[in-house]
Amino acid sequence: MSKIGVFICHCGENISATVDCQRVAEELSKVDGVAYSIDYKYMCSDPGQTLIKQAIKEHNLTGVVIGSCSPRMHELTFRKTCAEAGLNPYMCEIANLREHCSWVHEKGEATTEKAISLVKMLVEKVKKDHPLTSIQVPITKKALVIGGGIAGIQASLDIANCGHQVILIEKDPSIGGHMSQLSETFPTLDCSQCILTPRMVEVAQHPNITLYTYAELDSVDGSIGNFHVTIRLKAKSVDPKKCTGCGTCSSKCPQKKIPSEFNAGLGTRTAIYVPFPQAVPNKPVIDKEHCNYYQKGKCQLCKKVCPTDAIEFDKPDELLKEDVGAIVVTTGFNVLKTDFFPEYGYGKYKDVITGLQFERLASASGPTLGEIRRPSDGQIPKKIVFVACAGSRDPAKGIPYCSKICCMYTAKHAMLYQHKVHDGESYVFYMDVRAGGKNYEEFVRRAIEEDGVKYVRGRVARVYEKDGKLIVKGADTLLGGAPVEIEADMVVLATAGVSNNGAEQLAQKMHISYDSYKFFAEAHPKLRPVETNTAGIFLAGACQAPKDIPDTVSGASGAAVKVAGLFSQSMLVREPLIAVVNRCAPPLFSTCVGCFMCETACPYHAIEHEEIKNRNGDVIKTVAKVNPGLCQGCGTCVAFCRSKSIDIQGYTNEEMYAEVVSLLNN
């Protein structure tokens, strides 16, 4: 006979304002099998929990039902309380009287009646509950980091420095990401490469980090603690073991006019190339789409000149299988190109460039070796207009969000320009200056006050070319919308930060959620900012939304701590709320008939085949078995099983049926 304790929480006034908690407790005390029933102001408080513990001991309770807030809030609290009093934690159930009742209904008889029904339902369930024990799963203490920008570099280093193995994959030939393209960084104006390259080298040299560049994620299976990933190592056409990085091949390559991705299209590169001088690894790859040999079938000049015979043509991509315990996604972002903007010339004016292109112009390793020269004729622009919010905060363009970094880098650009071209004039068209951040506002003030950058509040309506000048037409909204026209030599658009190419496909591959802009979604925007809804997959950096370097790095370290925290456990303790295929006495062994329709239905590949054998080792029957490490307890197999041979522990058919019948009998 069940001896169930019912505990009704007032939740301050959250529940008691609309539900007569005392009456709920009284009504429940009359239900068969309820040995104890009481209401209390705060069940989750220390005295509240003591009340539960004492009742369990005094009345020898076999089950507990708590009428309180959502189980998402305090299920764990109350299960622990029960466990401390010696009751199996899974014999404790929560009736959600707050979100499902008091908050959504007005005060009244019916509301209290509903609360009574909700608690009664759970009482019937607890009667059918079985004690359960948590599941322990071994953890593969190796992490996969996807994306070798500053976020991926930081996360990899942090995890590796905790003593765990890390596999870092990067789709480009070198790690470094967007940060390696930047000239100086706000608000300190230290050289981006100077602070980044030591980290890049550290990654390459770290004994715990295995770096695969020119590699992409092919597929992911498994779950937290035990992912099985397949990595596609794209054929580099150069054997990195033989290559010494001498650079002879690049200098002889006849394809010299390919726009350099690293220089944001402002410079050129060859078909066999190292993206930039500080690249890690500093070994070239062949870009098959532009290589004469791959496109036309002959050339092989690089192979002829290579002193170590490192060129290997026609090698296929390799697929590498790895087991990892956690995944950190740091795939970064992209910026809109100028051709997105009809009002700024659809990208046809050479001297209308993006902020990222300006970074390359200002960078010492860039196409102009750090001199600000305009792309059309190489002249030094004497008047330059910066347009903030190019695309961003513009619902008409489909980008209603703020790209966050543009205000700061535009101030930096204008400042760098003033430092390099002393007689130059710079204008910044802005909507608002958003300089929230340590020393950020001071930095913008410095640009305006010390470097004389002219800030004009207003949008630029149009840019067009006239007599070799770019005519920028806008309005100054601080002067009542007075029209402003500037004859500029160059225009820099702070184009919006957008999600990276292929973000959607990657998210689908990994079963992580993403928002309407295809940025990856956090499990909780405030309290779980580096986790995804898929356990064991973490996020960092600008793949979540445009972010500056400090935010990116702190996010990466946060994700690394999550991974290290996971790896610090000897076993992964999981809730036992998983599917189980029944077993029974011979000759049946299980009511499962082995049709394995559950196998194709299972989204987690958790269904295995188990052969039941006799003493001679002959297979009598093949039945389904659920791998407890992989099962997520979604219940798809339960719904699909015709013979009802699968049940979710803690949510069995019998328990659910008891709840429904309890409601129907009301």
Partner: protein, 267 residues
């Protein structure tokens, strides 16, 4: 000796212990278990051979460690192919042959399930006259009228489970009607329990039913129950490109997801 008899004798002499086939009965052909070469002359094969013999090949009493051969009609072949996709066939103990329609009673023995599947690819699933009439009758009805039509039909069900016994794909060792913790379906014949049973039966057949009509034929009170499964086959073929009468190659339509699957029912 006709070709069928020749085949049967040669199989029985080469170690096959049992041939499932048909013999002459009072009303056309009836199932026949042929154990000896002497009995082989009784085997017949004609248009009256309608019982789906695939029902027998899952019976542990018949399928032990011995080799068994089946003289399969098109329906039997379809059932065997579907059963194989559900891991229910022990191929090493089963020999399947058929009498081809094209030749003059030529016997064709299949090398395995793959050959059965390819044999079935160009065989269209026929629609019974009864179902065509029902189609016409029901197409003019509103949703409510259809519901009351079936409630009325099923009110005659006596829960004898002949449909279950006749169906080659109803092979669960424990049927959902026999589950009593919890008792999902009322076990006695009652309007509600009858609906529960028949809806469950049809749902369990979606994407698996091979449209042989054994259930309709078996029903002692004459409910056209096979029509519902047949309707489901057509729905599946419209929604998910399933070909009625052919075994699913990559899992059941309802248990698998393909990117090209329609999602227009999600709102």
């Amino acid at each position: 000796m006709n070709k069928l008899e020749e085949k049967a004798v040669s199989l029985l002499q080469s170690g096959v212990k049992l041939i499932l086939g048909y013999e002459k009965g009072d009303k056309g052909a009836r199932p026949f278990f042929c154990h000896t070469p002497e009995d082989a002359s009784k085997l017949i094969y004609d248009e009256h051979a309608t019982t789906n013999l695939a029902t027998y090949i899952l019976k542990p009493e018949l399928m032990g460690h011995d080799k068994v051969a089946v003289c399969a009609t098109l329906r039997t072949l379809r059932a065997i192919a579907q059963l194989a996709s559900e891991n229910q066939i022990k191929e090493e103990n089963l020999i399947v042959f058929t009498i081809t329609e094209e030749g003059n009673g030529d016997v064709k023995e299949f090398s395995g399930i793959d050959e059965i599947n390819s044999y079935l690819t160009d065989k269209e699933l026929e629609v019974a006259q009864l179902y065509k009439e029902l189609d016409e009758k029901l197409s003019g009805m509103s949703r409510e009228e259809k519901w009351s039509f079936w409630v009325n039909e099923f009110s005659r069900c006596i829960k004898c489970y002949a449909c279950r016994a006749a169906c080659p794909l109803c092979y669960c060792t424990r049927c959902i009607t026999d589950v009593n913790r919890p008792q999902w379906i009322d076990p006695w014949p009652s309007p509600m329990g009858n609906m529960e049973w028949q809806i469950n039966r049809v749902m369990h057949m979606v994407g698996r039913c091979i449209g042989c009509g054994a259930c309709t034929k078996a029903c002692p009170v004459g409910i056209p129950i096979g029509y519902l499964s047949r309707k489901m086959l057509n729905d599946l073929s419209e929604e998910f490109g399933y070909i009625p009468g052919q075994a699913m190659k990559d899992g059941n339509s309802l248990s698998t997801f393909k990117p090209e699957d329609k999602e227009n029912f999600i709102h």
